[in-house]
């Protein structure tokens, strides 16, 4: 047995020396290479998983936001339609009311104008009657050369006015 070991060159000091060589690389790699690298890979894996989760959440949020936006848009459209309709109705009602109001005012103005016109006509006609009566009296007094009595005045005025009215 010992002869075989000797032939193979096996001896305890060499085994210990080789164990030290391998032990050194084992310890150093464990501490300074495999530990940090596996931690880094784990960290990267965690980040990727987080990123995937975040992406999934973002997609879900986006879908929810899009759905909400669609809902809000639909609501806004409906509201806008309702408001436009209401505005149209209100505008139509207001227009009608204003038109009626304007028509009433116009009627009032026309009526007032007519009344004013009538009053003016009556006033002018009165003045005209008075002037015409006076002219008739003056002309009659000059033509007849007599002094007219109040009864003559009243009779001549009545006749002259009836003539004017008939004409």
């Amino acid at each position: 047995m010992l002869e075989i070991l000797h032939k193979l060159g096996i001896n305890t000091p060499d085994i210990i020396a080789q164990m030290l060589v391998f032990g050194i690389v084992y310890l150093i790699l464990s501490k300074y290479a495999f530990g940090p690298v596996t931690a880094l890979l784990e960290e990267r894996r965690r980040r990727i998983a987080e990123g995937e989760d975040n992406l999934k959440k973002i997609r879900e949020n986006l879908a929810a936001a899009e759905a909400t936006a669609e809902e809000v848009k639909a609501k806004a459209n409906a509201e806008a339609d309702r408001m436009i309709k209401e505005a149209r109705e209100t505008a139509a009602a207001a227009g009608e009311s204003e038109r009626q109001k304007a028509a009433a005012e116009a009627n009032t103005i026309i009526t007032k104008a007519r009344e004013g016109s009538e009053q003016e006509r009556a006033r002018i006609l009165g003045e005209l009657k008075r002037d015409f009566g006076r002219l008739v009296l003056d002309a009659t007094a000059r033509a007849t050369g007599k002094v007219l009595t109040p009864e003559d005045h009243a009779r001549l005025n009545t006749e002259a006015l009836s003539q004017i009215t008939n004409n």
Binding site: A17, Q18, V21, F22, V25, T38
Partner: protein, 310 residues
């Protein structure tokens, strides 16, 4: 690109070693008349001091350690989330190996077992490949050995020295034992080794107990022999490969130096490529066997039972 450089290295190695092979006859005669690679690693320093323990294979082991640590230091010098080339390669190797280890030993044990198994794979593979480089085994130094009058190759494939393979196997055994005890406890380990398996109960359990005890004894013997089987497997493959290359280099002896040189180059090329493959395969086999040992010893019996039910 990598394949090209490996091939180029092989060619250079073939050329270099072929040139050396012609001069080896005289050297071999000087150290015991071995044909091929000497199984005994030679001390490089005379005397009985600490330096006398540095053999040519220990020196190669230290160089391999230096190369690995130099690369790792370069990769880990400035660790970034977006890795550089070296860091990226290291991450690739670590991630690949971690997945393999995790698949075998499971996610719970993987963090404990991974450093050992990855170190074995990387160290053994690099050491095997280093043995194929030009100059390894073909550059001799004089005035070595205990008497200071011997001669020996300056560099010798580290894994072609059984002291190295035994050393790796012993460290593997120690780490295996630590992981197993941490996982099962001393009682659990004894129960796992000698106790009844397969979820037996009642009379059957006690009836078969002697058989399981005998099986446990056999298991212990197999555990004791593991370092020997592991180390012999690796040593045998690498040592045989080295001898094969040596034999191919000296196979044609016509007496015409030019013909002998060309033949020694051409005959070895396919075997060099084979040895590149064997180098990584042996690293993988050594690591995988250890992974399986760890898996077998850290699997709880109830898991066995559950797996059996499945």
């Amino acid at each position: 690109m990598l394949a090209d450089s490996v091939f180029l290295t092989s060619i250079i190695s073939v050329l270099s070693d072929a040139a050396a092979a012609h001069g080896e006859g005289a050297h071999e005669g000087g150290h015991g008349g071995h044909h091929g690679v000497d199984p005994d690693a030679k001390g490089l320093f005379a005397g009985d001091g600490v330096l006398s323990y540095i053999t040519n294979s220990v020196l190669v082991g230290l160089i391999v350690v230096g190369l690995i640590l130099w690369f790792v230091r370069g990769a880990m010098k400035k660790v970034e989330s977006v890795p550089g080339k070296q860091q990226n390669f290291l991450e690739l190797v670590v991630e690949f190996l971690y997945k393999q280890v995790e698949n075998i030993v499971g996610p719970k044990i993987a963090p404990q077992a991974f450093p050992l198994l990855a170190t074995i794979f990387i160290f053994v593979t690099v050491a095997n490949w280093f043995g194929l480089l030009p100059g390894v085994g073909s550059i001799f130094v004089l005035g070595v050995g205990p008497d200071g009058h011997g001669q020996a190759p300056l560099l010798r494939p580290a894994t072609a020295d059984m002291n190295m393979t035994i050393g790796i196997a012993l460290i593997s055994l120690v780490v295996w034992f630590v992981i197993t005890i941490k996982e099962l406890g001393v009682g659990g380990f004894i129960n796992h080794t000698f106790g009844p398996k397969g979820g037996l109960k009642g009379a059957m359990k006690y009836g078969l107990m002697p058989i399981f005890i005998v099986v446990g004894v056999i298991e212990v013997i197999s555990i004791i022999f593991r370092p020997m089987t592991l180390s012999l497997r690796l040593y045998g493959n690498v040592f045989a490969g080295e001898n094969l290359l040596h034999t191919m280099a000296t196979l044609v002896q016509t007496g015409n130096a030019a013909v002998d040189f060309i033949c020694s180059v051409l005959l070895r090329i396919p075997f060099f490529l084979l040895e590149i493959l064997v180098g990584v395969l042996q690293g993988m086999v050594f690591a995988l066997l250890n992974a399986v040992f760890i898996k077998l010893s850290t699997t709880h019996d109830e898991e066995h039972g559950e797996e059996g039910h499945h």
